[in-house]
């Protein structure tokens, strides 16, 4: 079976009309597999960083959510050492009406609003809860070191 219409259209739109601060391009040999970059949002400790991610649309998409992972190291309470992301819309809050674009915008928004109460990286979350300024400093350092 060829690629579903939905994926073709979403891809076209992502390339033609990219969301600000976000790029997404499919691999030539696997059109369900995307190389993604997200710019760290202004005002966040990730500002000026360019973060690499990978995104994959499983067979069941859009009935099942896309799989997304950071490839750039990042110091964030909801992102673990392997780049896995804890975000409700990537799990139980997924709706088939959401799209690649909305998912990536949500990931970008997560960088502005870390949620230490629902942690995936417990040590980072603890740091964020106990000493937010210190934790943000580490996030900034990591951004400079790994994401620029």
């Amino acid at each position: 079976m060829s690629l579903p219409k939905r994926i073709i259209k979403e891809t076209e739109r992502l390339v033609a009309d990219p969301a600000p601060g976000i790029t997404a391009a499919p691999h030539d040999d696997n059109l369900r597999y995307f190389d993604v970059t997200i710019q760290g949002p202004d005002g966040s400790p990730f500002q000026q960083g360019i973060f690499k991610l990978e995104l994959f649309l499983p067979e069941e998409y859009p009935m099942a959510p896309p799989k997304v992972r950071f490839l750039t190291k990042i110091y964030h309470p909801n992102i673990d050492k392997l780049g896995r992301i804890c975000l409700d819309i990537l799990k139980d809050k997924w709706s088939p009406a959401l799209q690649i674009r909305t998912v990536l915008l949500s990931v970008q928004a997560l960088l502005s609003a870390p949620n230490p109460d629902d942690p995936l990286a417990p040590d980072v979350a603890k740091h964020y809860k106990e000493d937010e300024q210190g934790a943000q400093r580490v996030s900034r350092e990591w951004t400079q070191q790994y994401a620029s």
Partner: protein, 140 residues
Amino acid sequence: MAAKVPRNFRLLEELEKGEKGIGDGSCSYGLEDGDDIMMSNWNGTIIGPGHTVHENRIYSLKITCSESYPDAPPLVQFLSRVNLPFVSANGTVDPARLHVLASWTRASSLEHVLVEIRKEMASAANRKLPQPPEGSLFSD
């Protein structure tokens, strides 16, 4: 054509399965380094099957997944010393002599490799092979 799961997401799936624990716990595996974002280097453990010379022994293995995994099979190497026909003098598993590696497909997995090695240990041909001292390593 069905969606082809890329290497990294495939390895994440395998990692999550391994973290939950597979089967009866006689085989297990995990990342050598939890920070390894490319997930290339893995540790495997096999508990020797009962009623064989391997009973109660714990074998450590090193598994390496290349860029082209799972299109290409992983590299498998015993760290614990063992005497098996498909294991070379330095501990490397000869892919031509272990069925799961020789006939590797995308449907095969790290779990399959470990489970098959353990099955081989218990096979009639191998269960009584004389073994090096327990706990010794190929690097010794």
